[in-house]
């Protein structure tokens, strides 16, 4: 096994979010990346976190329910009518 640098895997997993947010210092980032290059398992951990984040992003793809749409458009028409009566008076 290659020398995974001075960072342990246990330390690596706690730096993943800061790494992805770009908030590690240059020195920390270099240690993190050195570990990433030399460790057999931690690249998979990082990849799984990234897959998790992307999967969460897919949850947003949710359409508005047609009942809600109809009810909101009715609210809009009421609002517009009320506005019209204000500007007309």
């Amino acid at each position: 096994m290659a020398d995974p640098g001075d960072l342990t895997c246990q330390e690596f997993v706690e730096l993943v979010t800061s790494y992805l947010d770009g908030s590690l210092s240059l020195v920390e980032r270099a240690r993190f990346e050195a570990h990433l290059t030399n460790c057999d398992d931690c690249p998979l951990y990082l990849a799984q976190i990234q897959q998790t984040v992307r999967a969460l992003g897919h949850l947003r793809e949710e359409a508005i329910a047609s009942v809600a749409r109809a009810s909101l458009l009715a609210e809009f028409r009421d609002w517009k009518r009320a506005q019209g009566s204000i500007s007309a008076s």
Binding site: S18, S23, D41, T52, A55, L56, L59, R69, F76
Partner: protein, 214 residues
């Protein structure tokens, strides 16, 4: 907000009473408003009402919106007010302070320490056994109704403050600064909450998707 952005054009059109602009806005944001409202009220039906009341607030306040903040920041502020008002009537609502609660200062490992070689060992702090590969990528799993539900359930088990941060950051795609402003968290606290939340969701996915070695 940039005066030539698409969102600003929608706002201007909505002020002029353009129904198509309103339809476009609800198409884009209504599902997100419900998801964010659930952070406060927990109950889906109440969250839907809060989201609906938010749009009524948008229509009433549209003339006063100057575009100094982004549209979603403005939507969030109206929604948070509606949810708070709701909270005065109903006991089930989660106080805003619970969503904005800073994480404790004490270090909490996000991966079970038993997965690493103990101190004193030649390989102290290194994985005891190879990390299992996932049979199915969660990005594929989430496309099925069942997979989607599992991920939703994983998020539902998180403490309110972690759930709020991961929902806004990773589901809704807000950046760290927007989340800090919306919830009143420091960057450091926001990041710690996101870190714990992501690790917990990953751990739960590992239980569902992990295969022994490979």
């Amino acid at each position: 907000m940039h005066p030539e952005s698409d969102e600003w054009r929608l706002i201007v059109a909505l002020r002029g009473g353009d129904g198509a602009a309103f339809a476009a806005l609800i198409e884009q944001y209504h599902a997100s408003l419900i998801r964010i409202a659930i952070l406060f009220v927990r109950d889906r039906d109440i969250a839907e009402e809060v989201a609906q009341e938010t749009w009524i607030g948008v229509l009433r306040g549209i003339d006063r919106f100057e575009g100094r903040s982004s549209l979603r920041t403005w939507l969030f502020s109206i929604l948070a007010n509606q949810a708070r008002r709701r909270g005065e009537r109903e006991r089930r609502v989660i106080p805003f302070a619970a969503l904005a609660r800073a994480p404790g200062d004490e270090f909490e490992p996000t991966v079970d320490p038993a997965r690493f070689e103990p101190p004193g060992d030649e390989y102290a702090g290194h994985w005891v056994s190879a990390l299992p590969h996932w049979e199915v990528s969660p990005e594929v799993a989430v496309l099925s109704r069942e997979g989607r539900q599992e991920i939703e359930e994983a998020i539902a088990t998180l403490p309110p403050n972690q759930r709020a941060v991961i929902t806004l950051r990773d589901i809704e795609g807000w950046d760290g600064e927007e989340v800090c402003n919306a919830l009143g968290l420091t960057q450091t606290n926001q990041r710690v909450l996101l870190h714990r939340a992501r690790a917990r969701v990953r751990n739960l996915l590992e239980q569902k998707l992990g295969s022994a070695g490979s």
